[in-house]
Symmetry: C2
């Protein structure tokens, strides 16, 4: 069962927006055993859209377009779909009522003809309700193939996919199972890993595919299995992962969950009724924003002090000025003290602190660019570690966030395992 995604609109091509929609669609389709084999971003031009649909139809069973469904002139998709399916637009009463309802509830200026005309849909399509917006999705069937047209606004598109598209695809098709398992490794580069696991890789069963996904200090190994019996697939993959431990057990740090690392931390803290806070210098609030991005964060996240300026470490965190003068702001001592103070001030069970120098210039410290200290304080005391994350500002910050999450996650795992 193959799918292709076509994104329509100049804004992706000129780089004004990043295409996050396709990643979302890829993930959701994969979960139900539909494999995305191509993503194509094209201009909002009738001839180009028709050609892209024709090409996709030769390769895929399911063709999904996003974008090009707004009420204004630069949006040609609906008329193009009519031409493609030899169809005409007719007013869809239910969609019209939904549009009028949205205007009555949320929009202060009056409804216009252009808004009402969003309810004009090709007669052959099934309208997919857009809970959050005025442009509905559309579902077409032609020669055993399914075409779905979705609006480009991410949160509107996501809701239509979850509530309308995925359930319909599940009903429509018998799908093979796709099972992924992603092994997290830290400490070796991809070629060093490849070297150590060559024998294992050469002997992988045909149904199992391996991919190396290197990213900022870790390499994820993704095993993918396809087949008609889910339990056999899972068993085969687990079996291969067991064997993998003989080769690189020392660098395997866990498995990538359906859930992100912050969601796993959130889940455990909430379950244990524990709370966390942060004191951030080089990560500048990103660690807090990662924790607060989890729904229900107020159950476990107390808050953060972003002590970005050196003065804030004394003024707000109340760290002894002598200590700062003696050790400098980028030091194990000050980072530990930040964690200790955050835990105290927020009255949290755990606190994480980061300091460092992300570059491009050295700032208020002699520490080499890329130096980062991370400290974690809990009831047992404080641990602090020093890293060098290189000379690329954005990368240093992101690595510091990743490493902080990893350290919290490891601490939790050790607690779980009763160490």
């Amino acid at each position: 069962m193959f799918a292709e995604i076509i994104t329509i609109g100049d804004e992706i091509l000129i780089g004004q927006i990043v295409d996050t929609n396709s990643a979302f669609l890829g993930k959701q389709l994969n979960k139900i055993g539909v494999e995305v084999i191509q993503i194509t971003s094209i201009r909002d031009d009738q001839e180009v859209i028709v050609k892209a649909l024709e090409d996709a139809e030769t390769r895929a069973d399911i063709i999904i377009t996003t974008g090009g469904l707004g009420p204004t002139k630069d949006d040609l998709t609906k008329h193009t779909l009519c031409a493609y399916f030899n169809d005409e637009l007719v007013m869809d009463q239910k969609t019209l009522e939904h549009i009028e309802d949205i205007f009555a509830k949320y929009i202060s200026h009056p409804i216009l003809e252009a808004n009402r005309s969003q309810a004009n849909l090709p007669s052959k399509c099934i309208a997919l309700q857009n809970k959050y917006g005025t442009a509905p999705g559309m579902w077409f069937e032609k020669d055993e193939k399914v075409f779905v047209s979705l609006p480009g606004v991410p949160f509107e598109m996501k809701a239509i996919v979850a509530n309308e598209m995925i359930p319909r695809l599940k009903d429509r098709y018998n799908r093979p199972f796709i099972v992924h398992k992603t092994v997290l490794t830290y400490g070796l580069g991809e070629s060093a890993i490849a070297d150590r696991i060559q024998e294992w890789e050469d002997n992988l069963p045909d149904a199992i595919k391996l991919a190396y996904l290197p990213n900022l200090g870790r390499v994820r190994l993704r095993l993918t299995g396809r087949g008609n019996d889910e339990s056999v697939l899972i068993e085969t993959i687990n079996n291969e992962v067991d064997k993998l431990h003989h080769y690189i057990g020392d660098i395997i740090k866990g498995y990538e969950d359906e859930n992100s690392i912050e969601e796993q931390i959130a889940h455990w803290l909430t379950e244990q009724e524990l709370t966390i806070s942060t004191a951030e210098s080089c990560t500048g609030g990103r660690l807090a924003s990662v924790f607060t991005s989890v729904p229900g964060a107020s159950a476990f996240f107390k808050g953060s002090i972003v002590s970005y300026a050196t003065s804030a470490k004394h003024d707000v965190l109340k760290i002894d000025q002598d200590l700062i003068d003696n050790y400098s702001v980028v030091s194990a001592e000050i980072t530990s003290e930040m964690a200790r103070r955050a835990r105290e001030m927020f009255n949290s069970d755990i606190a994480v602190a980061t300091t460092g120098n992300a570059g491009p210039t050295k700032g208020d410290s002699d520490a080499e660019i890329g130096t980062v200290f991370i400290a974690i304080a809990d009831a047992n005391g404080i641990v602090v570690e020093k890293f060098n994350f290189g000379n690329h500002r954005e990368r240093v910050t992101q690595k510091a966030v990743n490493k902080s999450l990893e350290m919290v996650f490891n601490m939790i795992s050790e607690t779980k395992n009763g160490k």
Copy 2:
């Protein structure tokens, strides 16, 4: 001058990563007058790659691939390129020395044959030096067309593009000029705007194209001009924007700069030697992370207190408990107090505070989901505004961040204009 981008690798297709590389490439190419007409994401499969290259060659002058250049088995690109250009791999001495140098400096485990073999390049290509990694870019020319192959790791790719690819493209081609001007509007939806500017839009010169880019409470109108005389293009676009003011002058809030709104704020604060701090509840540290993402942030950003838990508003921000009990945490009074306290604690010239209820549940407040208060404190006092950003958690938070930046930006603009 047309370009196409081909991204190679399963991780984009299964949604494991978002394709940020293409947006970067689109922007950089656009700046030098090269128009990206298609982006295609495909599997790491020799036959599929060859087909994609062939197709792209029929439409574009410049074909850029990213991904598929790691040292491990799932990377077939280099061999595919040899097949495509009827070429063979030969050792490139300069690249080999660079790889050995990187290993000697940054990598603790020994160099392997797989790493050294990254210096084996097709004999017909020019190697593009990869400052941050071991896989060089490759530049091919064939029948007046240019093919560039780049590694998929974003920071490696970006450096090669900036230092090697763009300068070579500039040398190689005479390009038409592309001029963009993006008008920022707030307060009306895209169809309402379209209705008001219809006459203007109908009379736009042929060389100028208009696109509507709606996003979370604002609609950007992007004018794009193409031609051989840059100064004529700029004049034509400015002229059209002047005319546009007659139609929607009341909702035009400025123009999209090359620089982001936070960079513009950063620039002005640094120039005026002013500092800012934040106290964040519903934005959970995102506002701080936006400010600290600007290089040189320590010149103007003092820090943030993320008082996410209700207790943190009293424990850390030291807001009077009676005040919290009387007004509730999501209120104009508490938000103002947060801004006032942040300004005091961080000793900053300006402070921004956010509170609100992003959902999905109501939390420690009776405020309706979507309610957000934003306050700004400076030497003249405190202003506070109330908003409702709807019922979608992620969107409420992002809108609160955008609106906070907009309010700071407006305050600065008023100061500049001497109001």
